[in-house]
Amino acid sequence: MKLLDIVRLIFGNLNRRKGRVSLTAVGVVIGTAAVVILVSLAIGLQKNANEQLYGIGDLTQIQVSPSYGQGEVVYSGGGGGGGSKSTSASASSSSAPGAPKLLTNKALEDLSAIPGVMAVIPRDYMMGGLTLKYHRLESGSNVIGIGTDDLSSLGLEATQGGVVLAHGTVIIGPMVASNFYDPNQRPGQQTPAAPDLYDQQLTFVFIKYDQNGNEVHKTLTYRVSGVLAQTQGESDWSIYMQLDDLKVLNEWAMGRRINYNKDGYSLVIVKVDNVNNVLDITDQITAMGYQAYTPQSFVKGINNFYLVLQIIFGGVGAIALLVAAIGIANTMAMAILERTREIGLMKAVGATNRDVLSIFLGEAAGIGFLGGLGGVLIGWLAGYGINVIALVYLAQQSASQGGTPPSVAVSTPAWLPVFALVFATLIGLASGLYPALRAATLVPVQALKYE
């Protein structure tokens, strides 16, 4: 039998039972529409999340910190020289699993040797307290000592001045200025505007406590040689200075010398040439015994979450489709009972079992296909409608609360309607399998005599 004839016969047969076929197809329409809408919603949510995530940091960076061994948490407060003597001693004596892995200069060389690593930049935090002063204004801030003179190697750019650090200068994030306040401000007085700090002298008041608990101060001034462009990350609120400058301050704060080569750095930024290599290199660094963190693993986790959401949402739609499948199976079983004599006749005039099977399978698949077509259309239109309504609402929300409005609420990729249509057709096919097999294997004479 020719394919075109089969198709024509199938749609002719569906056409003569319009009422029942469309009632059966409604179930498929609902299921398919549910699949399309729900999966589109999950994809839309993911797109939004990724848009919001965009600012979580440079995705080509890995933050590596030392590992201090299992159970033996001696790490105290994030200082480069913060580790105790016993920790550093065991570092040189042993490299067994569970032993501490410190970020010494030798370790930095090992990290640089990994293929795909562009730069290895140590950094450290400020020990002790700090108050910033600029004229009458004061502020606290996050000071980072960075082991490179060129901040562009961290992917940072400047809006004022440059990104090259010199001894005695600092480069500040764009939000640092807005942290300044007037300590003598009286209630009702107007808050002063954020000062323009570029090329200004900033006074740093460093604070530590001696053995007796008395505050000890040390005051230094630094020139602001650059203001960074916004990244929506840590750098926005940070002050960068040379690692050597910070080391001197930390030695003062702790009252002892710091030997990075022996104690190791507390944090190292590993800059990777390509986003696609980041997870791989992160794994290599972890295998070397260090702790490695990349925002990408976070992004990956989020994406996995949305993938699971897509599967769950798709599953809900699929359940609706399964219910529809039972409807199709029922309709087909009824049709075969009613058309038993017709099946007998088909066989009497020379139809093979395969012809009969194809026709009835085709009718079941046809119901799935027609329902799928309707469902895809409705799902797509509904998604479009939801977008129009939701975006108006969300735009109002972000107008009143700040932030960028999301660009989509529901996102339907091109593969989804195609997949849903194929899936609905296959569901129809599968539910027609048993009835069609029964039809195909009827004994012709019994089918002809059937009343």
Partner: protein, 234 residues
């Protein structure tokens, strides 16, 4: 002597009905030559339809052999039987078995779909055949718009559409009034004249005048005309 067109030997067909066995055919031997007009007669339940369906490859015998044109039906698989029905046999039934949703022309053309004949050729041949059975102007009508006699003519045209050598008709006049019945008998006689073997199961004694061969069935067995007459008188 050459082998006959149809050769049936020691054919039985049993049906299990609950605990009892119904011997619908009980050891039938029969030879039917090429281009014959055979009338099968017998009381209701004597196994006439069963014999006809076995001959047409619509059912399988319990035992025995059927050969048509030298082909053994009892040894064929489902696909070969389908092919046999498509190429060699044309059926006519008491209740016509037309598809109600199709026009007369579509009903006539229906079997050709399974033979893979292109749609244009199907239409052409259906028109010719409808004209041949005297329904040239009824091609667009549905069965419900035709009389019983006309419906059986459509069925006859359908039986002829693949140009079979053997026409099998199971009480084709059973549902028709006298005039229509005679018309159908004449049609079958014409088919026989055109060189086909025709086998008709009937109660109707008027059919006998067209017959070249007569077969009498009693309780699943072939009997002579004398035995048959004797039994009918009782």
């Amino acid at each position: 002597m050459q082998t006959p067109f149809i050769r049936i030997s020691n054919l039985t067909k049993h049906f299990q009905m609950g605990g009892t066995t119904v011997r619908a055919l009980d050891g039938v031997d029969l030879d039917i030559p090429q281009k014959s007009f055979t009338v099968v007669m017998g009381p209701s339940g004597s196994g006439k339809s069963t014999l006809l369906y076995l001959l047409g490859g619509l059912d399988r015998p319990t035992s025995g052999q059927i050969a048509v044109n030298g082909l053994r039906l009892d040894e064929m698989d489902e696909n070969k039987l389908a092919l046999f029905r498509r190429q060699t046999v044309g059926f006519m039934f008491q209740s016509f078995n037309l598809i109600q949703s199709m026009t007369a022309e579509e009903n006539v053309g229906f079997p050709m779909q399974f033979a893979g004949i292109p749609s244009k050729e199907r239409t052409r041949r259906s028109k010719v055949l409808l004209e041949q059975v005297g329904l040239a102007d009824r091609g667009g009508h549905k069965p419900s718009e035709l009389s019983g006699g006309q419906q059986q003519r459509v069925a006859a045209a359908r039986a002829l559409v693949n140009n079979p050598n053997l026409i099998l008709a199971d009480e084709p006049t059973g549902n028709l009034d006298t005039t229509s019945g005679i018309g159908i008998m004449q049609l079958l006689a014409d088919l026989h004249q055109s060189g086909r073997a025709v086998l008709v199961v009937t109660h109707d004694p008027r059919m006998v005048r067209f017959a070249t061969h007569k077969v009498f069935l009693l309780d699943g067995k072939v009997v002579s005309e004398t035995e048959y007459r004797a039994a009918s008188l009782e």
